[in-house]
Amino acid sequence: MSELIQLGANRPKVPKPEDLKLQFSDTAIAELEALLTHYPDRKSGILPGLWIAQREYGGYLSPEAIAEVAFRLDRSYAEVEGVATFYSMYNTAHKVGKHLIEVCTCLTCQVCGAYPVAEYLTQKLGVGFGETTSDGVFTLHEVECLNACDRAPLVQVGDQYYGPVDEKSLDALLEQLRQSDTNTVIQMADSIVQVHLADFEKPGGKKVESAKAPPPAATTPASPSRVRIRVEETS
């Protein structure tokens, strides 16, 4: 009983600014700066910034990851956390496994047999929706329409859609994922970061003249100096 009344025991620990250990790699910092040239303010960098963080922090937006995005964009922790928790593709609730299997059970998939597919996966993996296998390899999620209903029933793993699936193709898919060295959760975040950036914005990319006048310079001044100072402090 006493465990139950320890109010707030499971509350995420929000790191204090002075305790921040910044983890973005040099590449990540360069990507964020390139991204910020697309928008007139730093706030608009929150969504792409969270994608970078989800990759840099191993597929999970921990309080530390959110704090780093907030810090780099000059926003408050509360604001960035509020944004991160709104969207279903940011993993804020719990750390997911190496592969996140998202099963669509929405309308077309429902009438084309998604619930038997879900049942088969829960049986086979021994976990329910929102849970991770004990070896940390698979997490199962139920999702709403993935908008490829012509391939119903459908599942998504990382940046790939698989469908229509049946027990046999699912067995093969699970086996293939088990053998793979790739963490598809991190890979997906990376793919998303990459599609934001034009060739000429990537390191070593061929220079092309973009207009870039308006959207005008950031209304809140970029503060790389502050970031640099902090990195030096923590390293």
Partner: protein, 433 residues
């Protein structure tokens, strides 16, 4: 009637996804024309075409284009709604993956006509393949001078950015999409007449044009062949012009995207997609999960056109057309529809946040065999409290399918409530054990 492929004439051809292949098939001819034209003349051409928004509401496109200030005092933005989240719809996905240059050229044309400085394509986070295809095409366009500074020596500057969402249906609603792009939770903003139109104050409070992927992709054809030519397509309907892509799914032999001319019948669309499987046609949701469900009798003779489908008791919507066979339990189908809206409600306003949950709870107890007398009427009552009383269109979209299904299939609800089980025996379980 057969398909009429305009946008999809070259879909599936890998060459069309390259700048060279696109130009070989007439690509960028519209742009070459447009840079020589007066801005207003471009908008007039769109007006003559009769093009209406393909994102769901069917709003006349030219009115939006004409709504951006002609005297420019601030940057103008050209925004593309590529959030495609309406259950049953997957046309924007194929356009982006297989004909990316149509969208890019269409947005550039909008940029020229509306004095846009930059464009943003807001793509739902799951559509990574679509984003990759666009990325490749945009990079090619930049390298060849079709994007960036001084496009093709015309003196026009136009940048184009890709921005991905992160999982939220509500971000397809245009003002919520703008919130999301600006780094906020995907919640809608106050609308006209209580606030200025987005064409005056949209993204970052600057004039913003927002259209759907399919809408922009129609524009190169309109400028190439003329608005008057475009308006000859669909002339048999009251006020729907051109072609429309329907995403057909459900119990059909050949699910997929079908581009048809307005004026085609719903039954012809079913025929195109290979006809029914697993039994006779029982119901159809013709325009995405938000539109009222139709009985087979309502489908009979229904003509595809914005006004015509309304007359038939439903809507063109986003073109996500689900055909359901006689072994489908409508009550269980609507239970899942209600679950979608309850989960996707953004939570900003009470009628939708609470109402969608109540509808789900009542449908849940019916589906579990614990329905109570009066539940049907209670559900209908809740729909009238949500419809028209919510902050944005998601509330209405949640109410219509429930109200529509009860009106179209009352006996299925009565039977389920009275007997604690479905009137049909679905071969596949439609609810989790």
């Amino acid at each position: 009637m057969a398909e009429l492929k305009l946008l999809f004439e070259n879909a599936g051809d890998p060459a069309f996804q390259t700048l060279e292949g696109y130009k070989a098939k007439g690509g960028y001819r519209a742009l070459d024309k447009a840079v020589m034209m007066d801005r207003q003349a471009i908008i007039d051409e769109v007006k003559k075409s009769g093009l209406r928004g393909r994102g769901g509401a069917g709003f006349p496109t030219w009115i939006k284009w004409n709504g951006l200030p002609k005297e420019k005092t601030k940057p103008h933005y050209i925004l593309c709604n590529a959030d495609e989240g309406e259950p049953g719809t997957f046309k924007d996905k194929q356009i982006m993956e297989e004909t990316p240059f149509l969208l890019i050229e269409g947005m550039t044309l909008a940029g020229i006509a509306c004095q846009g400085d930059a464009g943003f394509i807001y793509i739902r986070g799951e559509f990574i393949d679509a984003a990759k295809a666009l990325r490749k095409a945009i990079d090619e366009a930049y390298a060849a001078g079709y994007l960036g500074k001084n496009i093709r020596g015309s003196g026009v500057d136009f940048d184009l950015y890709i921005h991905l969402g992160a999982g939220s249906y509500e971000c397809g609603e245009e003002s919520a999409l703008m919130s999301s792009l600006m780094g906020e939770r995907g919640m809608p903003r106050l609308k006209f007449p209580h606030a200025p139109l987005p064409t005056v104050a949209g993204l970052w409070d600057r004039p913003t044009l927002i259209n759907n992927v399919e809408t922009y992709s129609c524009v190169p054809f309109i400028l190439n062949k003329g608005g008057e030519w475009y308006a000859t397509l669909g002339a048999a309907t009251k006020n729907s012009r051109g072609t429309k892509i329907f995403s057909v799914s459900g119990h059909v032999a050949k699910p997929g995207n079908y581009e048809i001319e307005f004026g085609t019948t719903l039954m012809e669309l079913l025929e195109l997609s290979g006809g029914m499987t697993g039994g006779k046609l029982k119901a159809c949701v013709p325009g995405g999960s938000s539109v009222p469900i139709m009985t087979a009798a309502m489908c009979d003779g229904a003509i595809i056109g914005y006004e015509e489908m309304m007359q038939a008791g439903s809507m063109v919507g986003s073109g996500g057309c689900m055909f359901l066979n006689e072994k489908t339990c409508i009550v269980q189908f609507i239970w899942r529809t209600a679950m979608f809206y309850a989960l996707e409600s953004c939570g900003k306003c009470t009628p939708c946040r609470e109402g969608t949950k109540w509808m789900l709870q009542i449908l849940e107890r019916i589906v579990r065999g614990n329905g109570q007398p009066g539940d049907k009427e209670l559900l209908l009552d809740i729909t009238t409290q949500i419809d028209g009383r919510s902050f944005c269109g998601l509330g209405d979209a949640a109410a219509w399918p429930v109200a529509g299904a009860i009106k179209a299939f009352p006996e299925e609800f009565d039977f389920y409530i009275a007997n604690g089980k479905s009137i049909v025996n679905s071969p596949l379980p439609m609810v989790p054990a």
